[in-house]
Symmetry: C2
Subunit: 109 residues, 2 copies
DNA sequence: TAGATATATGTCCGTTTGCGCATGTGTCCA
DNA sequence: TGGACACATGCGCAAACGGACATATATCTA
């Protein structure tokens, strides 16, 4: 994995990053929060770790993961804002943006 | 394709979007600029079109494509800024960012 | 130390997807 | 109208990748 977009292309990894949003989590907690199997969680964490997107701190037999790196922080903010629109399709974005923040400014498209 | 990250995960599509950055381009121009085969260009353009990421304007026998949609514009700016760092690996990002803009502020890690 | 707990890894399999190649469709022009 | 030109599409294939399942490794505790 040498490409952030590929990294983020996988929903399971985005779910993990989302679950790590608020801070350090153990693998078990991530399994609970994401409803993924434990092996899947571990594997995707490995991918994220190799990429440098998360950090690992071992505390006894539990492994604590946390988000690392400015790029992912930026990406996380970026996706947090747009994901809700995108997941409903692109068509509604302009509408929602207009309603939400800028009732004017239609000279964009 | 129902996921922007998957859409952007493919380097060929990012190359196309990049080639469309400055405006409308014909398929032939995109073939030249991206060094992709014509069928590949057409296919990926189709994916981008179905997603709503580009627009098509037909002028005779040439098809002019252009980027469409605020999300991709945002994504484009976002990637334009970070891509150069990411493509060289994540490790250099903090360094470059520090050198570039903020010689102080090291409490970020 | 034995067993339980927490996590990691190996293997197999099915799916997805991009590309190459050939061909089809639409448009312009002599 | 026939042929050149611009682009799109269908097909087959190979590579990438995630998940399920079983199992290995490490740590804690009785």
């Amino acid at each position: 994995m040498s490409d952030v977009f590929r990294l983020l292309a996988e929903p399971s990894r985005r779910r993990l990053l989302d679950a790590l949003r608020l801070g350090e989590r153990s693998v078990g907690e991530l399994v609970d929060r994401t409803h993924m199997s434990q092996p899947s969680v571990s594997k995707q964490l490995r991918v994220l770790l190799d990429f440098g997107a998360v950090r690992l701190r071992k505390a006894g037999r539990t492994h604590l993961y946390s988000i690392h790196g400015r790029p992912l922080r930026e990406a996380s903010e970026w996706l947090a804002y747009y994901e809700r629109f995108w997941e409903q399709g692109l068509g509604r974005l302009d509408k929602v943006l207009t309603e939400e923040a800028r009732p004017k400014r239609s000279g964009d498209r």
